[in-house]
Subunit: 311 residues, 2 copies
């Protein structure tokens, strides 16, 4: 079986981790959103890519879901004493990632190659690819103007009301080397439970033009990031509301309408099953909340089994 | 009494620290070499300036003389795991200094102003000034070509044989704001026991053109960094040898000939007293090795007392 997983940050990383515990290296490629990448303190920071890699490596902080476990904050604490900007928290171990990535980018190494080298160093055996080696920047059209994603997400704590999104640079951006090949070989694409607006849509925007076959020839399964009308983490539900859509598993399925063969969502939303089937996709109801490592593997197993029903 | 101290790294910082324990803030200004500043890993690093500031703040590592006490190395360790360059060791606390300085330089804040802000944050009460806000780069003319100073000093561990030095950018560089004023007000200039070739000469090159009065009107006292033909730290003695000069306190006094009213050197070199006096300067012999905090204060006290004899 060849699987491509599309992932954003924490939720996506958890399911990718579950899949990696079942599938052999070579059976799974995770393509990660880079729309929330940004430059800060002279570092080129890739939050989603790092979350996915740290999670697959078993290095992620289990409490936050992002950043490193057993992290220290000595640089940040001293930076604050000097009056430096501290709104984006960078741990010491994590900072090494940004430092070395930035150094390599400056000497011309592409992001996909850097990610491969880092995965090797961290012992990640399953392929992880940035969606593109070219910068694409998710811009949030908010009630008080357009904001760069991390400005909205971290600095402003998702408080501004959103009106829409724009992926700056997406027109000229090509999928990273290996993305097309992985999709060509894949039996199934799994859209992980990540934010549809700002984690998955940027990837789909990148993939669509060269992968027209993506819409029909392969089975595509999505897992809902919305459970009981709420997001486990992050602003997806708030975004749906502000865009005038009731946040629900149905809203997510409808978001991906036309693309999906199957949709996986939580027991708490079982009442939506007929509405979701009405979107011309198969539906699978289970526990989708990944609270522990076993939950990740269990959900991954069920998603993989569901593929058999969909194909 | 108004004193200006000229200092490079560890030895200079120790004497400046001794002076700061005796003199009131406002009585002492330390002007620091920036010729060994360099850019590394995207950071703008000022080794001598940081050594002086950390030492005056009581934050310096007492074992190495440079870097921070109670330092951690989490960024560096993780950088090495990713294959990043590790020849220049940057501790976590120290890295915050470079990070914030680089950020401020990028937004246009001059080095002297940044240094002032950092000194305030660290509780340094005596003025510390970089010799210039403009980049001046000490280049080492070595047997296998010209090397940037840190390349020679840290990466190549002072192994290449030196043939001379060049201070790139010195012609166009102005003394930093406050340097001229401090010199105008100073009764005495103390040249700290720093490397004459690569720590003090760059400062003198910067100061000379606008401060012609420097040569005669004020008393200038130097403390020898060479004891018993050897340097306490660093390559000064090796440099003298490679340039065909026998390394000694006399060689140092001769280096500053014409500039000095008085010269302070170690008991172990007492036999050189007549030769040094023959250079038309007063001589003062004492213990110049600063092994503990008390030694710094003791030497500073003796140097200040010596000023009375010289004036």
């Amino acid at each position: 079986m060849k699987i491509v997983a599309l992932a954003g940050g924490v939720g996506g990383a958890k399911l990718a981790h579950g899949l990696a515990q079942i599938l052999e290296p070579g059976e799974l490629t995770t393509i990660v959103n880079t729309g929330d990448d940004f430059e800060h303190l002279g570092f080129y920071i890739c939050p989603d890519l790092d979350t996915v890699c740290y999670t697959l490596a078993g290095l992620a902080n289990p409490e936050t879901g992002w950043g490193r476990s057993d992290e220290t904050w000595n640089v940040m604490e001293n930076l604050e004493k000097l009056g430096g900007p501290s709104w984006f928290r960078l741990g010491d171990q994590d900072m090494a990632t940004h430092l070395e990535r930035t150094r390599r980018l400056r000497v011309g190494e592409p992001l996909s190659q850097i990610t491969k080298a880092f995965c090797e160093a961290w012992g990640v055996k399953h392929a992880v690819l940035p969606m593109s080696d070219s910068p694409v920047r998710t811009m949030v059209n908010a009630d008080d103007g357009e904001l760069a994603f991390q400005e909205y997400f971290v600095h402003r704590r998702c408080e501004p009301r959103v009106k829409g999104f724009r992926f700056d640079g997406v027109e000229g951006a090509e999928p990273a080397p290996g993305v097309k090949e992985a999709l060509d070989l894949a039996d199934t694409v799994i859209i992980c439970p990540s934010n549809p607006w700002v984690s998955i849509d940027p990837i789909l925007e990148i993939l669509r033009p060269p992968f027209a076959q993506f819409d029909g020839a392969k089975s595509v399964i999505a897992v809902s990031p919305i459970i009981g009308g709420q997001t486990v983490k992050g602003p997806a539900a708030k975004m749906y509301r502000e865009l005038g859509i009731e946040p629900s598993a149905f809203a997510v399925a409808n978001h991906y309408r036309g693309l999906l063969s199957g949709f996986v969502f939580d027991r708490r939303d079982a009442q939506l099953v007929e509405n979701i089937k009405g979107l011309n996709m198969r539906a699978y109801v289970t526990n989708t909340l990944m609270e522990c490592l076993d939950d990740r593997k269990q959900l991954a197993m069920e998603v993989l089994n569901f593929i058999g029903e969909v194909l």
